[in-house]
Symmetry: C2
Subunit: 216 residues, 2 copies
DNA sequence: TGTAATGTTTACCAACCGGTCAAATTATCG
DNA sequence: CGATAATTTGACCGGTTGGTAAACATTACA
């Protein structure tokens, strides 16, 4: 009998795990490159190296595939922000947050583009995730930053917009990679632009947030 | 006889100007919301208030429409950077550049999203524009910024990444509007977030780039 | 006003796309 | 092995999409 994926309650087969992994990997590749509408099931199937009906045996619809992919990626995507430590040294925490985010832009550009595509198109599938868990996490960290500012450890600033600006500057190197490369020119073929970006962003944010001559 | 748009060499009719204007306006609306693949010609025709064949009488293909739209918008999109004045006061120039870009994110979010979509998908249609005119303009302004740094008027920094970070932070409020709203919550329904962002970004960039006690 | 050029519409098509079905193949396990 | 369940495939389907053909309507202008 044919039992589509959603109906299986028992333990998952080795084959199931392997195939679902391969499918999500292929889906990430295709969705991140063409967006939800732009991606076709045939394309994903081809990248995954299997036939379309076979793929649809594991994920019954294109949307189910996309949903599974988003939820999986969103979780790991927020890890850097979760590591933000209220007890650590403020300047050091912000610096390492920037560095972590930039490393993710370098190492997981497809994941970044997947989200960018999703948000750009109005986030039809993850609006609840944004207003719920994401907002809660940001609220929590914003409170931490605000307390640092009040304690005089960093300059006073709007913590939400600080977070937004860290997100945007770092993810820019994944989402707008084509533009960055075009402007920097051929000579920046390697990962050098990420190191340059790290230097610049550290300077910008750290200097911009430091307390200057607090006593005088 | 039917002479499609591309073949017309003579002066354009009043009707042509009106209709092409309406079409490009509708195309901007739809493309910016759904991306190239996600947009349909029927949708654009409906928004433009005309039949699909009628629309295709002015732009023979969907791609031609998209190309026309991109070229037109790209030109005005770069105006703020062009206004960057080498002879002005460095700090004031950077401040007003940030403000102009933020105003564009507020007043022309569709244009911003159109580009974001295009770049995200690998900029298949405008790669030449990026590597040519855009790069040339950025190179020119980067040289200006570098000269300011050398003259000790602003802190030393990579001018390219400075420009990138201004682009990304400001455009973020157009491209990721849904996320920004979700995180900030309902109370920020108006344009308040743009004023908050302006204050924050000015503080960040100006403080981050000022020369601190150069003499001491 | 007459007429040729321009503009608009209805009906249509071929390609594509997400998804189904039933049959065939392969893995699992007593 | 034998049988039952899980997996894979080719053929197919209805709806959508970009685009066309040709008849019809309107405008510009001598």
């Amino acid at each position: 009998m044919v039992l589509p994926r959603a109906a299986r309650t028992q333990r998952r087969t080795r084959i199931q795990e392997e195939k679902e992994e391969r499918i999500l990997e292929a889906a990430l590749e295709v969705f991140s490159l063409h967006g939800y509408r732009g991606a076709t099931v045939d394309q994903i199937a081809e990248v995954a190296g299997m036939s379309k009906p076979n793929l649809l045996y594991y994920f019954r619809t294109k949307e189910a595939m996309h949903r599974a992919l988003i939820t999986r990626v969103l979780d790991t995507w927020l890890d850097p922000l979760r590591e933000f430590d209220a007890l650590g040294n403020p300047v050091a925490e912000i610096r390492s947050y920037i560095r972590r985010k930039l490393e993710m832009a370098r190492d997981f550009p497809r994941e970044s583009r997947l989200f960018a595509n999703e948000i750009l198109q109005g986030a039809p599938n993850i609006e609840d995730e944004l207003k719920g868990p994401l907002k809660a996490l940001v609220d929590e960290k914003a409170a931490v930053i605000r307390s640092w500012a009040k304690a005089g450890k960093i300059a006073k600033c709007d913590p939400y917009h600080l977070i937004f600006s860290i997100w945007s500057t770092t993810q820019h190197y994944a989402d707008f990679d084509v533009q960055v490369r075009a402007v920097l020119g051929q000579e920046n073929a390697g990962d050098g632009r990420f190191e340059d970006a790290a230097r610049f962003l550290e300077q910008l944010f750290i200097t911009g947030l430091e307390i200057h001559d607090p006593a005088n």
